[in-house]
């Protein structure tokens, strides 16, 4: 029986038959259909995915005409910090623009949280102004809401992660509501400063990482900024394929946030006035790449089906079907990119 080289969710290489790959595709899809109430892929889409996963080439690409735009969360962390290449962030931006064919890039700080940036926002604004003088491509400024940082001992608010196991439900809810206000105000302050510095866009990355309250803070901040700066592009990347109900009762524009899957998440992001939505579907490292990609595609397709704004699916380390490893295998990464655009109908990545 012919075997095809593929990956597990942790990045390990494995050999699977076409039948095994197809079975995993169906199982991954079923998971998204049942849990996320997504529509299943059609038979031709399933066959197309099997073809992509069994292509003999090491790396693959989209067919002409299916190209999308690519954004890069925390882009300026990669060369100077993660790869330890001693270049300034503005140099990193130019390398991406002139050498690496980036459609857009993102200026960011090593401490990639809005709370931390509040202390250095004038310097970040200056860096953005200088970067904008030299670059041609659009440049975002991005960071994470990371609402957990507002809890004691790092912040002023009681820590709901310790209150909940103690059975102090009401106290935990109050603490999260307090943190929402602090986090939202910081994001509005920083977003405003960067807008005044000429940033092309603002990114709220991993919105919802601390649960539904974290997502609410980002949505509220986006709503204010979208009205204050009509020319500012706002993109919101999620943290998970559903918002965890750490509070459970919070609503945005009349819709409960807890439990939202991508198709509902995108509608809340639209209501906040944001211009694009970054769907996130987390990888299960114990399952195969075929399982993970199929599951991610099913969720992403449901979001692109209902979205009125562009959907830029997060296809990075451990999300969008990509294996959960720091050095992402190119065979898996390029297959995920191809599948998301050709089958998932994403507007970009």
């Amino acid at each position: 029986m012919e075997k095809f080289f593929t990956r597990m969710g942790d990045g390990e290489g494995v050999w699977m038959s076409k039948e095994e790959i197809k079975n995993d595709i169906l199982a991954g899809m079923e998971d998204a259909v049942v849990k996320g109430k997504s529509q299943p892929m059609g038979q031709d889409e399933i066959e197309h995915l099997v073809d992509i996963l069994t292509m003999p080439q090491k790396n693959v690409s989209v067919e002409r005409g299916n190209e999308g735009v690519v954004t890069f969360d925390a882009g300026t962390l990669k060369l100077p910090v993660r790869c330890a290449i001693p270049v300034d962030r503005s140099t990193a931006l130019l390398i991406h623009e002139r050498v690496l064919c980036s459609d857009t890039m993102e200026l960011c700080n090593t401490d990639y949280s809005y709370k931390a940036i509040k202390n250095i926002v004038p310097e970040e604004a200056m860096a953005m102004e200088h970067a904008q003088m030299n670059c041609i491509m659009p440049i975002f400024y991005g960071a994470m809401p990371n609402m957990g940082q507002y809890t004691k001992p790092d912040g002023p608010v009681d820590n709901w992660a310790t209150l909940l196991p103690e059975g102090k439900i009401k106290e935990a809810m109050v603490a999260q509501e307090e943190a929402v206000e602090l986090c939202k105000n910081d994001m509005i302050f920083i977003g405003s400063a960067m807008a005044e510095a000429g940033t092309c866009g603002i990114q709220f990355d991993t919105s919802g990482a601390s649960g539904d309250a974290d997502a609410l803070a980002a949505l509220e901040a986006a709503k204010v900024l979208s009205r204050k700066y009509p020319n500012l592009s706002i993109t919101m990347g999620m943290a998970n394929e559903f918002h965890l109900g750490m509070h459970g009762k919070l609503k945005f524009e009349g819709e409960r946030i807890a439990g939202q899957y991508p198709a509902k998440q995108v509608k809340s992001v639209e209501a906040a006035g944001a211009h694009s939505f970054g769907a996130v579907i987390n990888t299960n490292s114990s399952k195969s790449f075929a399982w993970n990609l199929s599951r991610s595609l099913t969720y992403a397709k449901e979001a692109t089906r209902v979205a009125d704004i562009p959907v830029l699916v997060n296809v990075g380390m451990g999300v969008g079907g990509i294996p959960l490893t720091n050095t992402s295998p190119t065979d898996a990464t390029t297959r995920a990119a191809k599948a998301m655009l050709e089958i998932g109908k994403a507007d970009g990545l």
Binding site: E67, S102, I136, M137, P310, A337, G348
Partner: protein
Amino acid sequence: MAVMHEMAAGMGGIRTAGDLVARMVMKGMKISAAKEYVANKLGCSVFDLSDSYKMKEIRESLDIGTVLDRPHASYGMAAKMRIAELLDIKIPSVELFKKKLGKSF
């Protein structure tokens, strides 16, 4: 990661029309509409938007910035000012620059 995605699925940045299409997506346009809009403004086909040969000529003739620098060619802010006019959009950094100079252009 970004390089893999750009090669596999991206528009191609300033090598082609990737930055231009991205600007329209950032305004909330879906990818097909963004491509149609940019192609219409450039006077080329949607297919040409990802063709680096065609786009190099178009970008040089419109002076909106290319990968390889040339004497007297626009880059950075100058290229963006031309892009804003070409696409009929407001680019925040361009508006800020004009405000600093006290000019309406």
